[in-house]
Amino acid sequence: MTLQKDVETQESARRPRRRLSARAAASTGRGRVPARLLTLAVVAVAVLAFGFASAPSVRYAVILSVIYAIAILGNNAVLGLLGEMNLSGGVTMALGAYGFCWFSAQGMNPALAAVTAVLLTALVSAVIAIPTTRLRGIFTALATFALAYAIPTLAIYLKDITGGDEGTSAPYDFAPFGLELSGSTWDMLTTVVVIFVLLGALSLYLFNARPGTTALVVGEAELAGTTTGISHRTVKVVVWTWAGTLGGIAGVLYALAVGFIGPTGFSFMLGVWILVGGVIAGPRSVWGALLGGLFVGLLPVELQSVVPPAATGIIFGAILLIALLAGGRGLAEWIERAAPKMTELIRRRRAAS
């Protein structure tokens, strides 16, 4: 398996324009950009339609799901490209959310506050990534775990900025271009989906262009313990910063949707969910991130009407284990592989009849 993956990667690195085989495209998440963009758009429209058709409570869960999906999309770059386990996805969301609320509270225009918060998150992510990317494998996981673990108490310590244990409110009447951005409004849903699609398309482009190739080569080379001519550290810092930026964007949107942020919302479990959502859905698929978001944001709410709430952890753990036992490449890749076979089957049957 690994052997074959290496071969694919090296070949695609050498000849990025080469058309990938169906199997390679599914397992690397590269190539066939128009088809992938279309899939992304279709899935996004489906999520939108679902959100519009649902009761506001479900719509709120869908909105949160898409927000998680944005964070997952960023985290997937670290997981899928570099093969590193990042548990600090919740940290960047906290930075974005707290930054946004604080800048707004200082009298900054909310739009400007949002942009500033995202930029700040990107900057902090880069600074944290500089030491963190010197680590490898399990050490990355441990360092990010320790950071994620520290966030709730750190937020209490910085109570002048964060509002401490009681938390702080997001700006309420933020309505850029007349869009009502809060809670379960249709505007909020449309906005988060559009932002996700834009970021997803950008990810897809970057993933297939030189930056993605470079990052992939660095990730695989790390895995194989070999060296390439590329500055690994720089590439890794860039990928981590990208993940942090998306986390920051997700954080700002989270603050808008929830309307309130407090330290208990940013426990280390949030980082675990963001990672797990990516793994379940497939870390190398863009539309898979959306699927992962729905797993994390929607499933626990909907599950409550089927199983006792206390048992939702069991279901989640089981889904994660099944996803891992199935190869750890996630549901999205599985569907991408199954789809051609299924259409082939349908075509044959049609031809036979």
């Binding site: 429209v45 401490g164 709410v301």
Partner: protein, 396 residues
Amino acid sequence: MSTRSLRITLCAALVATTLAACGGGTADGGGDQGSGGGTIKLGAFSPLSGPAVSSSSGVKATEAAIRKLNDAGGINGHKLEFIVKDDQYDPAKTPGVTRELVESDNVAMMCGPQGSVPFGAVKDYLAARKVPSIVNAGAPTLAGEYSYLVSSPFDGLGGLLADYAMDELGTKNIAIAYSEDILGTSALEGAKKALSEVGAQPAGEVKFDVSATDFSAQAIQLKGTNADFVIMPGAQANVAGQLINAAEKIGYQPKWGLSYASQNQTLLDLTGGALDGRAFFATPYISPESAVGQDYVATLNKYFPEVETSSGATIAGYTIGEVCLTVLQAAVDEAGGDVPSSEDIQKVMNNMSIDNDYIKGINWTTDGHEGARSAQILALVDGKFETDQDYSPLPE
């Protein structure tokens, strides 16, 4: 479009259709109206799973109170339906489950939703939806146009403990231990104010972190103050127990001023009998050893035999259930015997004083929705929480 793209599109379309189908189903399912058929719908959220799951016993006690009334025939023949959703004490999940309660389940009021931080996340939403809430949380900041508190403010409990130490135990050598949250800091303020009114100063103010695994630094600092009495009402039982044990370990044995938040068997088990006669609990709620307490114990044992009856959090949940029922009885009367609407409920709550067996000193008006301004002190005697100082008004 190539055939491959077509295949992927087909597949995505399949997913989309499935999702949309699910969506349609959910929307249809959430349609029935609550205020019909003689059922009054009440909602609450509580951490039924996740790391804070231990605090969910309160909502069970609330449910016990409601079920008891249902089994006795309901209110004027109207049955009560109590719907509890899990928010894992995560303020990001609370708005989702609350929206479900309000918009899908159409609850008329929130009866005992748990937790200061989660409620803070939905306070404005509930107000916008005009759904009144009787909150099971101690933070005075949660009181608002549509939210009503039952629990005493912790500054009052802190002050009560300080007064008790000075008047009954005869010491002014008092230290305060607190965590950096609304309960801890308001208890600190209340105790300091009570001390300053008699011209005294706290012997020390020591801060702790509720998620810490080691409290020895705080124990050493407290011992350094040499105080006879330590006020710590904001702490939960496991936190209080750890800090008290850490103090015992270094040979520091003051009397402890706690609250209903840590009044339970866990504290006694953790401290292994060391606290007998040295722990005092400020609480607006009843003692499980009192006459009315026996009634409560019997009810809880009937519906939730696994829930611990001596716990302050359980008694609080039960009391909140009783308060809700008092409110609803008045609201049904207000509605002329019909199922009351949210407006009816809020209307009666805005002009309500409660002074019964379960709780004393609640005076809700249009402008004031804070909790009970009367509390008692329970002392730990032979492993039982017995009334040591009867209900008295909290210091302002």
